[in-house]
Symmetry: C2
Subunit: 199 residues, 2 copies
DNA sequence: ACCTGAACACCGTTCAAGT
DNA sequence: ACCTGAACACCGTTCAAGT
């Protein structure tokens, strides 16, 4: 009330925070320079200093969304092991897509050329699965392949669910998928078939 | 050379054909009414009669791309059975994403509200996997679950590959994924572990 | 019935000008 | 160094007018 600064106020983090809220509330296609600028009470051209145009805005949004997903699945892996850990990580993955559909859509967008930052953030997600299988006794070549397999299955199921528009009966089908893929991995690398078969 | 008709010439199929070529050559983001209209030598407003705006253009493109993918995987399933059929269908799936990256990107886009046509076209792809497992002896509840599992894995791997920008060493990793998931399905529903384990 | 062309709103982008 | 505001190009959309 004292004095309103008609200028400045703006940072890369503030810009990112607005972008993440925007895509989750209004859909990924609502991510425009104009919409972000309006919420920050600045002109659209003011954003060029911080993210460098629309391409840059999409980039920082994709990186932030991917990192958020990585953090969530990493937290879910704490305190669990084996098939329980796979389930915990996979369900945290799905919860993220349900709670933050716009951020998940942002992770589905193709990166720009030589986008090492985004590729590295994405790799961090697969690495969580890899660590789970490493803890189960697999070593680097096989643990990476197992991680990529379960992550592909999880990612594909959630992308298809995200596009189907319906969440009906997906919970059971998701658990079915996890059991099947984990069974394939266990059967391939371990002698016995362990893991929680839920039917 | 005789007479150039400065008017008409236009149809929904012609519009779709131009759109499919455009996305594969210039990327999905190049799909605009202006670009399609220019190649058809009409004004942008002429497209509204046939597809109803940008949303409609994206819709017909997504439906056509999904149908093209469905046709390709269906053809690959002919004359094969068992694990060989799963491999044939899955590799046809991947070949499509490599040959038509823009059309694959179109299938990744979320459908508009109550888009039954697109949901049905997408289901046709999963149905191909379901038929393969039906031929192996599974019945509707389990064949659908198995189909959804292998399709999710295939879809997720290819989406991640599509975003990684690199195709290095993906061929072997893809076969590894197929073997693992098919092994999980076989082990779950059939007593023995059949299928071509490639290592 | 279908296309043209003008008109309008909106968005991305650049840049000179301010602070 | 960072933001404003004008300016421009481009795209989506509508609609009256033509055929």
């Amino acid at each position: 009330m004292s004095r309103q600064p008609s200028r400045q106020r703006l940072s890369r983090d503030a810009l990112t925070a607005v972008a993440l809220l925007l895509v989750d509330e209004s859909g990924y296609d609502a991510l425009t320079l104009s919409a972000v600028a309006e919420q920050l009470q600045v002109g659209p051209s003011a954003l060029y200093t911080h993210c460098g145009g629309l391409d840059g805005l999409r980039h920082v949004t994709a990186v932030a969304a991917t990192n958020n997903l990585a953090v969530q699945v990493r937290q879910a892996a704490i305190g669990t092991a084996g098939g329980d850990a796979v389930n915990a990580v996979a369900h945290a993955y799905r919860d993220f897509t349900l709670d933050h559909p716009g951020q998940f859509a942002a992770t589905l967008r193709p990166p720009r050329a030589n986008d090492d930052e985004l590729v590295q953030a994405d790799q961090a997600i697969t690495d969580v699965f890899a660590l789970v299988y490493t803890a189960m006794g697999l070593t680097p070549p096989e643990s990476a392949l197992a991680a990529r397999s379960i992550r592909s299955a999880v990612h594909g199921f959630l992308a298809l669910e995200h596009n189907s528009g319906t969440t009906e009966a997906c919970e059971d089908d998701y658990q079915h998928l996890l059991d099947t893929v984990h069974r394939g991995i266990s059967n391939r690398y371990f002698a016995d078939i362990e893991g929680p078969a839920s039917d």
